[in-house]
């Protein structure tokens, strides 16, 4: 069903063109540019709420579909659409961008209009990634996204920003070229760049494995998964607060989204035979990274490592399906695993954004991210201390906050597949609490450590708005995740059904690890 009103186009291009307007308005009247930027961010968010309101959660079909010819020679289309998996991520993107604008308000003094414009353009590109249904369109958004982020870290970053940007760029670029090759290969098989056509494509095992690995390289870097995660701490440390927020809250999610949109439905058989790899890497992320996070001296690095550990739950939840099928022959638990991973992505978007904003609040005042430079902050910043403890608890997965929901669902799902998966995943209960609360103890609590801490001023209204709004959503989805989970149900069930069926050609039917029943009814148009 094609959409009458091009809502998705609006959500993509409004911030991009808006960003250009902000660029054009320049820094002659900084205030004006800032207000324009904020206005566009808020407007984009409001428009994107139309996606949520108009979303029909009773179907797994793509919605708000738009389709227009782009490069007809190669059958490339301007093809957009969302389902229950991408829609929440788009709203998350537009929501978080507002806070980036507000957080940079007084803090960014060097070319503020360009800073804001970069984030607006970034926002449009990220929405584009989540809504593109044409592989080339997806790829263009995917790569274009690197440019504003490269500039954000490179221009407004810390002292070691050049190393960090190059590392960030090469790492992610390295992953995505293989993806491009895979996409082109599939174009020749399907004679189409439509991602939905890719889903239907019959592929042999060796082709699937190669495609799976190509995608894995691209997505694993973005998530990031162990062992291709080391760009993230460096990028975070050097990025300005807003950059860290977008990086952690949205960009990492693009990797997770890629697994759901590409890897699983396109190469289910390869996924089934290589799922052990993903599960192993996910569990390593939870346990290994948990210990690494424990000993970090830099708050941003600590939160960056914490992000990697939390994203381990996402990939674990996504790939638990095949172990479930092997264990019990049924896919019960798979939906919960994937939904849990999705909830974890959304929730981590809020919590990591809030934690990076918290670090930003301190950094703006003391220009240090070292834990050792702080201590007893609560004596001078009690409101800040309260927020920090709240978000730390959310990060540690306290029930009642959104941080609990995804982890809980993934642990429940993992237990069905294998006790030891759940056992290792559940170590996060102790590890995440240990590294987060230990940081809180050293930074927030205790006696005033030094003169600088003694001179700290508590949160201003701008900061209270930011942290307060994020705290509200963290609580809301912690106390009532149903609205979030309900929009995903149909799409995730559809995905599970899709992935549970062998896609190998008839000649290789003997190699099917997955069931090979008649095509599922709802795949037909």
């Amino acid at each position: 069903m094609e959409s009458v009103f091009p809502l998705l186009t609006l959500v993509i291009w409004l911030p991009i063109f808006g960003g250009m307007v902000v660029l054009a308005s320049g820094d002659r009247d900084t205030n004006l540019s800032k207000w324009i930027a904020l206005g566009i961010a808020v407007l984009t968010f409001l428009v994107s709420l139309g996606l949520w309101i108009g979303f029909d959660s009773a179907t797994a079909d793509m919605q708000f579909v738009e389709r227009g010819a782009w490069i007809p020679t190669f059958n490339v289309w301007y093809f957009l659409g969302v389902d229950g998996i991408s829609m929440p991520l788009i709203v998350l993107t537009t929501f978080i961008t507002i806070f980036v604008m507000v957080a940079g308000w007084d803090v960014i003094t060097y070319r503020p209009s360009q800073y804001m414009a970069a984030f607006l353009i970034m926002e449009g590109l990220m929405v584009g990634v989540f809504s593109a249904l044409d592989a080339i369109l997806f790829y263009v958004f995917w790569e274009a996204m690197l440019i504003p982020m490269f500039i954000i870290i490179g221009v407004w970053g810390g002292p070691n920003r050049v190393y960090a940007t190059i590392k960030f760029f090469l790492y992610t670029f390295f992953g995505s070229v293989f993806m491009l090759v895979a996409l082109i290969y599939m174009y020749f098989q399907a004679d189409s760049f439509s991602i939905l056509d890719f889903h239907e494509l019959e592929l042999g095992m060796s082709a699937q494995v190669l495609i799976f690995i190509a995608f894995l390289l691209a997505f694993a870097v973005k998530v990031p998964m162990f062992p291709v995660h080391t760009w993230l701490p460096d990028a975070h440390v050097e990025a300005p607060t807003g950059g860290s927020v977008i990086l952690a809250a949205i960009m990492l999610k693009i990797g997770g989204y890629g697994f759901l949109r590409f890897s699983l439905p396109i190469t289910p058989d390869a996924s089934a035979s290589l799922d052990w790899l993903i599960i192993a890497l996910s569990l390593i992320a939870v346990v290994y990274i948990g210990f690494v996070a424990l000993v970090q001296q830099d708050m941003k690095k600590l939160i960056a490592y914490s992000s990697i550990a939390h994203m381990g739950f996402v990939t674990l939840g996504f790939f638990i399906l095949f172990a479930l099928l092997r264990h019990s022959g049924e896919s019960t638990g798979a939906v919960m695993g994937i939904e849990g991973g999705m909830v974890q992505m959304i929730s981590h978007g809020f919590i990591s954004a809030a934690l990076f904003l918290c670090v930003g609040v301190l950094y703006d005042r003391m220009h240090s991210r070292q834990i050792a430079d702080y201590g007893g902050v609560i004596n001078t910043m009690p409101w800040f201390g309260g927020f920090m403890v709240f978000f730390a608890m959310s990060n540690a997965g306290l029930p009642g906050t959104s941080g609990f929901v995804g982890e809980f669902m993934v642990i429940l799902a993992a237990f069905r597949a294998d006790f030891w998966f759940a056992f290792l995943a559940a170590t996060t209960l102790v590890l995440a609490a240990a590294f987060t609360l230990w940081m809180v103890k050293r930074v927030v609590y205790g006696e005033v450590k030094n003169e600088k801490v003694a001179a700290l001023a508590d949160l201003n209204r701008r900061e209270v708005f930011n942290l307060g709004a994020l705290a509200a959503v963290v609580l809301l989805f912690g106390l009532w995740p149903a609205p979030l989970v309900d929009v995903m149900h149909k799409s995730v069930e559809h995905l599970v059904a899709q992935v549970s069926v062998c896609k190998l050609p008839a000649a290789q039917a003997a190699d099917c690890l997955l069931a090979r029943p008649a095509p599922v009814a709802f795949l037909a148009p």
């Binding site: 996070a293 919960m336 849990g340 609560i378 004596n379 609990f404 609590y445 005033v448 989970v485």
Partner: protein, 668 residues
Amino acid sequence: MEKVYLTIVLAPLIGALVAGFFGGRIGRRGAHSVTILGVGLSTALSFYVLAQFIWNDLPVFNDAVYTWMVSDGIRFEVGFLVDKLTALMMTTVTFVSLMVHIYTIGYMADDEHNWPHGSKAGTNSYQRFFSYIALFTFAMLMLVMSNNFMQLFFGWEAVGLVSYLLIGFWSVRESAIFANLKAFLVNRVGDFGFILGIAAIAMYFNTMDYAEVFAAAPGQADTQVNLFGGVSLMSLICILLFIGAMGKSAQVPLHVWLPDSMEGPTPISALIHAATMVTAGVFMVARMSPLYELSETALSFVMIVGATTAFFMGLIGLVQSDIKRVVAYSTLSQLGYMVTALGASAYAAGIFHLMTHAFFKALLFLAAGSVIIAMHHNQDIREMGGLRKYMPITWLTALIGSLALIGFPGFSGFFSKDAIIEAVSGATIFGSGYASVLLTFGVLITALYSFRMYFLVFHGKERMDDHTRHHLHETPWVVTVPLILLAIPSVMIGWFTIEPLLVNDWLTSGDWHPIVVHHGHDTLHHLADHWHGQWAFIQHGMTGLPFYLAMGGLFGAAFIWWLMFARNPKLDEQIQAAGGPVTRLLLDKYGFDDFNQRVFGGGGQSLGNALWNGGDRLFIDGALVNGSAHSVGRLAGVVRHLQTGYLYHYAIAMIVGLVALLTIFVGL
């Protein structure tokens, strides 16, 4: 009734929110009024509900309030199960909480002195404290009133959160923020087991709802799980859940956080770390009796852990000199008694002791707090003495609390503890002999440490400095009235409730059994069969070994720490010195803290450093990432020589290439 139950839960929450967010505006008076009003309303309604169960046969309530989410066919709900067991817990929790609220008005009156000068962290600390304890009441009520495992975990962690906030209430004190982190992490180790237990339930029962799980449990009694070479599903679930209880109810070896939690203000030591939160594990196991009855392995495990805690933690209480720590170790020991009762399938006795203990232990803590106020926050019992004549109400109520604790005939603790000891002696499962011996001799230990403290504090010479002595006086009425109100049930509640709880099967009968006991496990039936009224029970008790041990302890303590001590003020130190290695072992708390600090604290950090430096920095970044960057660089360095920029180099290369190509083509 749903509205009543919602009111019971939400009234403290609203109080907490108002006091927390508007504390500055409504002031101290406003904050304590609004929270006391909220908790008071809950208390009144809880008593109403209990009365309805006792006299009007109120039907059991089991329904959802709202659906949290639905995923993969499992409904996750927030809802209430209110039966007799719940009603009993609700009244205990709200009543003790109300007493603590009132008491706090006095105890925290001068709290601004506890904060460094100029620290904004102390702003409105009084209001914040009330907000926290009201929030705790809400969380604890959600825990006991839950009708499903998810909400149980919610309440479970929420009380843990408030406990964390309250232990670290004086957030600038290093010892306090060490203790609260430790408490949270140790509890998280327990919750680690707990959540796996819940996951096992989700997997095998496909529901979170208690009633559905209990109904389906007998059908899974013989299910084996392919783990460690095959274990029974029920044993696995019960032991995993019990690991959670070991954290929350501070059972060996997860007990280490409780003594340190005494860093928090005394009212919360009474409310959270004695009367209510730490008994959540006991309540949980009793609530899950339909599951535990299906696994003797789990019951044995529970019993052995409980008895070990009961006896060995009591011993540590003998050498403590901080008044709150003595009471804390006593709490550990008493929790051990309750847990042992659970292991013996005497769930009703465990709950009975939970209730009596809530009253007399809250009383003892609040009395200790009263002493601490009078002593200007000196907590060392070696520097007290003779307080009896300065603080008559505190003295008398503390005496009542101590008598109840040691099980003096007729006092509430006598009934509950005797019932436990009797039930355990009748148990036949593995470990019951061990448990029975430890519990019986634990009575002697209990009497010794209780009255050692009592005599050192209230009798003998006044050993405090002159300044303190001149200012000694009874504490204000907001402190003493709760003491008196808690002293009354400490004396009488056992007499009035033993008959319905343990003899008339109030908790184990009816259409819905709050507690299920299988026939072969019914260790309380002996008590019920030979029941001839409370007097007969007391008389019978006075012929048993526990009675002699309690009296021996009481008089022994009186002899040593009252009579002898008056002549020789160095006596306590001399006794400890005579203990030699035993004393050292007790003072080291059997080395648990050192071990944890070294192995888990230090070990975790070393491992983290090793992984970070060895894995991330050296291997991944050093060898792989920067390594490949360097390799590319080196390769480029070699290849670069090909691009010299000299035309004749290129010309030669072209000619050589042309010749080579021609050779190949022609040759082919």
